[in-house]
Amino acid sequence: MPLKLFCCDECIPERQNHVYVKEEGEDTTQFLPLSNIETIPGSLSERGCSYCGAKLVIGGVIKDCIQMIHGPVGCAYDTWHTKRYPSDNDNFQLKYIWSSDTKEKHIIFGAEKQLKKAIKEAFKEFPEIKRMFVYTTCTTALIGDNPKAVCREIEEELGDVDIFVVECPGFAGVSQSKGHHELNIGWMRDKVGTLEPEITSKYTINVIGDYNIQGDTYVLQKYLDKMGIQVIAHFTGNVTYDQLRCMHRAKLNVVNCARSAGYIANELKRVYDIPRMDVDTWGFEYVKVALRKIGAFFGLEDKAEEVISEEVAKYEGKLAWYKERLKGKQICIWTGGPRLWHWTKALEDDLGMEVVAMSSKFGHQEDFEKVIARGRVGTIYIDDGNELEFFEVLESIHTDLILTGPRVGDLVKKLHIPYINGHAYHNGPYMGFEGAVNMARDMYNAIYSPMWSLAGKDPRVVDSPMWSLAGKDPSVVQEL
């Protein structure tokens, strides 16, 4: 039966519709896991919330904004510093976090005055910053605050500031995916087209769905610069607020993360007739395809080939070294959604690895269509996986490595299974040619590290290999 009910889910049989094991000859017209629907009560989901999707994933990356979180202080801390997306202005967006710090009295009497005070204080403390994102949270949405009205008042009062409000209370939607959607559609509605860019090339694009995780944007920018292509805006890696207002002037939208940012690409096509080109910017072979397609759009095929030749010459040998050592290794990808389909075939083709189980936190059925089309027969595909299911997967398959986030990462570390941070990376960037090598290196280091097995040894046991490895005299243990 391709839809699978885990033993741990016997009391929540609805979970069967969220787990699929691909069989030979099947396609997605026969089976497609349910996804982007409410988490089933009883299932210990590891999903995030709408606010997290808007702030942590997209808005928080923008490098020249005050990021005002309208809610209790904990909401601010929980989306600060947990993802490493640097910028070329000394990482302003990573150094600071702002909160309206709402308390009980604000819940009772309203928090708009508190928000106004916090916004004005923030602009005063950072006089060089004139742009702001304001995010609503569960509490301030529930009490009916109107942050947009507050922000319009402040814009009129201060004159030289521009503020964008994202209505993304955590309870909205079923996961962080709702926050992606709110920010995309809101930005398109309120800000795109409100500023004109300086055009420096006849070849202009937006790179959509790349968040400069550990420098991904810099890698892509380098290739595009060499091809003579002007990036109007990266949505949202290493980008400024005003660059994002100019997105309507690109001739092409190149989309990497279609889950978090496909909406704005669709709207730019609908409203401004800018075509959407989906690519994979992870994966050694995939990047070649991406550059060739962008090159073909602008008639810059030769430039694309030059970049590819140069980069392949630099990194092909390194990738081959890791491939020799990684081929046949079995791995799991338990991330948000799109990385399942970006990575599964890339790891198989580039490195000879086998992806045996995949789980998506917030992917939609579109993501499962992609990953099942690209993924292997026999692989387990899970929507909104819970921890007990993860344990059961690990009992049923062999895995040499798990690519996942810090939350599930802690779980698998305790099981002494090599883990790589699939969200914020271990030592990225992971995009582009050099990124593919970085990712291979991190996976190699994880799989071949003795730490994982040593962590499972009890140092009080005399014949533990921990002692011999550390050069200690096992007799010392007698004194313990």
């Binding site: 017209t29 669709n266 759009f297």
Partner: protein, 112 residues
């Protein structure tokens, strides 16, 4: 021909993201535009790129046509009408899998 159609469909299913755009109308537009352009490239027809969307279709089609020529040597044995029959067959198969029989509940939502 049926086997050839299945072979090309399998290649596209595994490689191409354009068949999985968000809504049914996006998918239909891409499948029609890119597959028609692929047929023209494979047949060596003159291609006139007028709109930005044409150029985007051409970019994807150029890559797909090259991939087909590289992986499926039998393509060179098809004449023009054979290519057109292949392209129409693949279009129908892709529409069947990704639109008509798709289990994706979001395909026909009116907004993005």
């Amino acid at each position: 021909m049926k086997e050839k159609i299945e072979e090309v469909t399998a290649l596209i299913q595994e490689q191409c993201l354009w068949q999985f755009f968000s809504r049914s109308w996006d998918r239909e537009e891409n499948i029609e535009g890119i597959m028609t352009m692929t047929g023209k490239i494979l047949n060596g027809d003159k291609i006139n790129l007028v709109t930005p969307v044409d150029k985007a279709f051409y970019s994807d089609a150029k890559f797909l046509a090259a991939d087909i020529q590289k992986k499926m040597p039998w393509i060179s044995e098809l004449d023009k009408s054979g290519i057109l029959e292949l392209v129409e067959g693949v279009k129908n198969r892709l529409l069947y899998i990704t639109v008509k029989k798709s289990r994706n509940c979001e395909l026909n939502l009116s907004n993005y």
